[in-house]
């Protein structure tokens, strides 16, 4: 894809984040969409492309009164929105539409108007994973981590530091759900969920949403807010069954999506000023640092434990506090994208001074899918 040909010109989260008992899931989509449209200074009738996940595009388009000429319902889990950004950029470049709205929302905590998730007993997951007691992401997503730790020599304390450092970032974000400082001891003594992970190493469960508006870079300068350009993109999928990953030492989907985006962007790792790695659970930033090529996997735990990703560190990571401390409605990818856009606009609560390139890396399912978007504020 051509670098910097498409830009984000509108970005917003739902008016509230956290516990929103007075709004259904579809209304959360609309709330985020209307906020993003206002942020871009547009009208609903200006939108001619729409993308969303879990909820269908027809559901959201109809509810908002949008008549799209381009639609993307890619739904591969929490990184679906990274894939939407990639697909929308290609569609705008190809002339299929001019102005794309991407929405996410989930009534993850209040469960109002939320579609049920189910695993049919004759699906492959239903036959070859469900009978063995998997029950929701906390029982599945951490399954690879003991192998990762053994292969790469990562300690429990190092992974606990992921949660500690992200809480430091969250403390700087007024909208973060959890802001009180925590220590490694707090993490390792918190309630056990699925050994080796304790509750402070598992994401929050909250309500909320977010929306983005993309258009061609040629038009981007006419919008009220600083445009954020799309420099590089990547995507992949591996398997819906965590047990069937090629290896637990690494994520194949990450190893495809991340390097694809770096090649497309034509940047080196040292150029990255700000980094988001979707952290549904505390091991994901380690996988991300290794699979995106920032360092060998053996060094990821020490890198975080040594403070390199904390406020003032050389590689600011998950600066909103992440899924562990900011918010996590179920499909966190949209919030990672929102933070990258805020950082590139220069308006983030925990702003990284002078950051010019932001890498935003997402996961879907339990390492099932991945999407990477590289943003820049310089054309």
């Amino acid at each position: 894809m051509r670098r910097n040909a498409v830009a984000v010109v509108g970005a917003a989260e739902t008016t509230e984040l956290g516990v929103i008992p007075n709004m259904s899931q579809i209304q959360l989509h609309a709330d985020a969409a209307l906020n993003a449209i206002a942020d871009a200074g547009l009208k609903l009738s200006d939108i001619d492309g729409i993308a969303t996940a879990v909820e269908t595009p027809q559901q959201i388009a109809h509810y908002l009164g949008i008549k799209p000429t381009w639609v993307d319902g890619t739904s591969v889990g929490g990184c679906s929105f990274m894939l939407h950004v990639r697909h929308a950029a290609a569609a705008i470049e190809a002339g299929l539409c001019k102005t794309v709205l991407i929405t996410h929302a989930e009534s993850g905590k209040s469960m109002i108007g939320k579609l049920p998730r189910s695993t049919p007993p004759d699906s492959l997951n239903g036959q070859f994973e469900a009978p063995f007691g998997v029950y929701g992401p906390p029982s599945m997503f951490p399954i690879p981590v003991l192998r990762y730790m053994k292969t790469h020599g990562i300690t429990h304390e190092q992974i606990a530091m992921v949660a500690v450092v992200q809480r430091e970032w969250a403390a700087k974000n007024p909208r973060a759900t959890m802001k009180a400082p925590i220590t490694v001891e707090d993490v390792l003594n918190s309630k056990m969920i699925a050994y080796p992970f304790r509750i402070l190493q598992c994401c929050l469960v909250t309500d909320g949403g977010g929306a983005l508006i993309l258009t061609s870079a040629d038009r981007a300068k006419d919008f009220p807010n600083k445009p954020v350009y799309i420099l590089g993109t990547g995507e992949s999928v591996e398997t819906p069954m965590v047990s069937q990953m090629e290896t637990f030492d690494s994520s194949r989907a990450f190893r495809v999506a991340g390097p694809t985006a770096f090649r497309e962007a034509g940047i080196a790792h040292k150029d990255v000023g700000h980094l988001m790695i979707y952290d549904a659970f505390a091991h994901l930033p380690l996988y991300g640092l290794g699979d995106l090529g920032f360092m060998p996997h053996e060094e990821t735990g020490k890198f975080i434990a040594d403070g390199n990703t904390r406020p003032g560190g050389k590689l600011p990571l998950n600066t909103n506090g992440g899924g562990l401390s900011y918010m996590h409605s179920g499909m966190y990818g949209m919030y990672a994208l929102q933070e990258s856009v805020r950082q590139m606009r220069g308006i983030a609560p925990a702003q990284v001074p002078g950051a010019k390139i932001s890498v935003c890396h997402g996961v879907g399912g339990m390492f099932a899918a991945s999407g990477t978007i590289i943003f820049t504020n310089e054309k």
Partner: protein, 137 residues
């Protein structure tokens, strides 16, 4: 046991041979006749080379512990926490999710790479699950 039962798999035409195998006390895998790739879960073609010429064979039932979690909460229906959800690497190469029986469900007892052997657990007349236990000897 008055508790709700664990999730019961429902075979499809492509997986029936596997579940017929466990009911007969055999762990059945598939091997590609063209490229010799051994794979799981079942399907009537090789996911490595695409050949439809594949054979079903009885696996050794031996494997090693690749990774696991010990689930505390929330527990799946039919399970009493804490219980381990394991991924077993079979001697023939493929990995599969399972549970480890005849073994304390603790990090001390569940050592990565420990040797395991299949232990069949009958759910009902049609479905028997392939579980694993520490290998004897």
């Amino acid at each position: 046991m008055a508790e709700p039962a664990r999730a019961r798999p429902k075979p499809t035409p492509e997986t029936q041979h596997f579940w017929d195998g466990t009911a007969a006390g055999e762990l059945r895998l598939q091997r590609c006749d063209a490229c010799a790739n051994v794979y799981f879960p079942p399907r009537p073609f090789c996911p490595s080379c695409g050949s439809r010429k594949v054979s079903i064979f009885k696996a050794s039932g031996k494997g090693t512990l690749y990774s696991y979690v010990i689930n505390h909460r929330p527990a799946a229906p039919g399970f009493t926490p804490p219980y381990a959800i394991a991924v077993v690497e079979l001697e023939e190469g493929p990995r599969m999710m399972s549970n480890i029986v005849d073994c304390p469900q603790t990090p001390e007892a569940l050592e990565l790479d420990m040797k395991l052997e299949v232990a069949f657990e009958k759910l009902d007349d049609k479905i028997t699950l392939p579980l694993f236990r520490p290998a004897k000897g």
